[in-house]
Amino acid sequence: MSRFLRYFLLLLAAASFIYPFIWMVSASLSSERGLSSLTVFPVEFTWSNYGSVFSKIPLGRAFLNSVLVAVVTTTLVLISGAMAGYALARLRFRGRDLIFYLIIFTMTLPFQITLIPNYITMVKLGWVDTYFALIVPFVLNSLSILLFRQAFTSMPQALIDAARLDGCGELRIIFQILFPNILPTVLTITILTFMGLWNEALWPLIVIRDEPTMTMPQLVTLFSVGGRAEGQLGVKIAAAVMLAVPIVILYLFFQRHFIRSMASSGLKD
């Protein structure tokens, strides 16, 4: 009996998490009149909400922008993080620990605090309404540096020595010798960075006003609150579903690594 109760409570909790998402999908496929009820299946099934979204905003273009920004930035985060992490883990130089603590310190600052200075910098550089504004401020990531540093610290020194004797320079040591041996860390950083970038709406809202350069979350947010949806809840919800779909698909592919990434970083955004 207690066992039954336990599972009942667990199911209830699970449903409370999943139901909003189910409703969102079903609502996006319902007609406007069906939205007032809490259902599981679409009421008066229709694709028209999706049709409206695509006709009203350049969602395809925004999707490509998001992919471009997320992929390029994640790649650069991996490169810069690996190089900085390696230096902090393996090279001996004056002030190394101080630099490391400074980098850790920046993790305690919420992005909102640096928002204004960053924005002013973008304006001065003339990067407003360009991809640079979306990419450059994110290519150095203290969490990725920290994770890379920990991973490189745990590698045996002899491996690096052997590579050096074989004729490797530091870059080759990092990317050809060490990188393939810390793939779980690389994947963790990739997933966390990619997800963070994909979901970022606040920063693009500030630096991008030019519609063809907008990312998906920005465009969807603007669409939903900016009046372009003309009050049609179904269309707004369809846009939100489109925003969530890529990450859900990625999650299905990398489920195991997602969970490990969350657990290993101890962070949840």
């Binding site: 045996p156 020595d161 052997a162 050096r164 004797l165 074989d166 393939p180």
Partner: protein, 368 residues
């Protein structure tokens, strides 16, 4: 042609504390030299300095005729075998061995040829497609040696390559390394803390302590003519027995232990003249376990010492007998036929021609 010359080499990490004091060693072409010493003596640091993995604080390093102080590790024409093998985990055996050659821009055919030749020599041809994690420790060690061989270097460096292997495999690999040295006729420098490895492998041995060379000589000379008490105690198993005592000359010149448990007439030891200046002073007597016998020597002089057997280790071929002299533990290596038992009182005979004496202050050997 590659002799390796170290001239007044020193290493300091921070400030004045030097981990390598002032080391000068000449390693001849095709010689097998072993660096041996207790942990923390600086032997690995010295090897890493030769390899180019550590900077040289002071002094000069030559390989062949070239000064190597500022030459990067990859251009010193050396290869190194590491204690934990240091194979690239994500590469197959073939890729591991080929990697260095590929970076040097060798043509593919030659790489393939060199790798398969080394693989044949080491009998690892069937492992070429495996990853390191799918191999045993002994196999990994062979691959690590193979990776060094394919480079065809002037000098091979070994950093405790056998210490991760079990005892049996260690013995086998030791013999194979000797064979390899003959076949490759290359200069080899080998670091170990195991003096048995040092004695069996080295043409010459460098005994290090606290970053300083204690003695650099052939294995037999180290064994028979240690220059100080440290070398005497470090080389040889079981270690040499030591006993401090005073030189007295009331009557004939004698060595007397503090409680007069041991009194040795020095006239018969060959040290009569050498120890005269030590009259009234303290010296340390050293005698090896195998220079103590349960029966009198017929062909040479001996010292008879009554002892009580404290412990016995029967090894089959021999028996190690432990006993106390002046509360110091002594070990004697006796023939196995002895029917000894614990607590038994016996007379043991010390070979008077095999005594060593050391200055108690400086620990330097006193030459007869």
């Amino acid at each position: 042609m590659a002799e390796v010359r170290l001239k007044h080499i020193a290493k300091a990490y921070t400030g004045d504390s030097r981990v390598i004091q002032d080391v000068s060693i000449d390693v001849n072409d095709k010689e097998f030299v072993v660096l041996v010493g207790p942990s923390g003596c600086g032997k690995s640091t010295l090897l890493r300095m030769i390899a180019g993995l550590e900077t040289i604080t002071d002094g000069e390093l030559f390989i062949g005729d070239r000064r190597m102080n500022d030459v990067p590790a990859s251009e010193r024409d050396i290869a190194m075998v590491f204690q934990n093998y240091a194979l690239y985990p994500h590469m197959t055996v073939f890729e591991n061995m080929a990697f260095g050659l590929k970076l040097r821009g060798l043509p593919k055919d030659e790489i393939r040829e060199r790798v398969s030749k080394a693989a044949r020599l080491l009998e690892i041809e069937n492992l070429l497609d495996r990853k390191p994690k799918d191999m045993s420790g002994g196999q990994r060690q062979r691959v690590a040696i193979g990776r060094a061989i394919v480079r065809n270097p002037q000098v091979f460096l070994f950093d405790e390559p056998l210490s991760n292997l079990d005892a049996k495999l260690r013995g086998q690999t030791r013999i194979e390394l000797q064979k390899l040295h003959r076949e490759l006729s290359a200069t080899m420098i080998y670091v170990t803390h195991d003096q048995v490895e040092a004695m069996t492998l080295g043409d010459r041995i460098v005994v290090l302590r606290n970053g300083d060379v204690m003695q650099y000589d052939t294995p037999l000379n180290l064994y028979n003519h240690p220059v100080n008490q440290f070398v005497a105690g470090f080389i040889g198993t079981p270690p040499m027995n030591f006993l401090s005592g005073r030189i007295t000359d009331a009557g004939p010149l004698r060595f007397e232990s503090p409680n007069q448990e041991v009194m040795i007439d020095l006239a018969e030891t060959g040290y009569g003249n050498a120890l005269k200046p030590y009259r009234g002073k303290t010296v340390v007597l050293g005698i090896r376990a195998e220079s103590i016998s349960h029966q009198p020597f017929t062909d040479r002089t001996f010292h008879r010492q009554p002892v009580v057997v404290e412990a016995l280790e029967n090894m089959g071929s021999e028996t190690l007998a432990y006993f106390l002299v002046e509360n110091q533990r002594f070990i004697a290596r006796l023939s196995a036929e002895q029917n000894l038992s614990f607590g038994q009182r016996i007379d043991l005979f010390w070979d008077s021609t095999k005594f060593h004496f050391f200055d108690a202050q400086t620990e330097q050997a006193i030459q007869p």
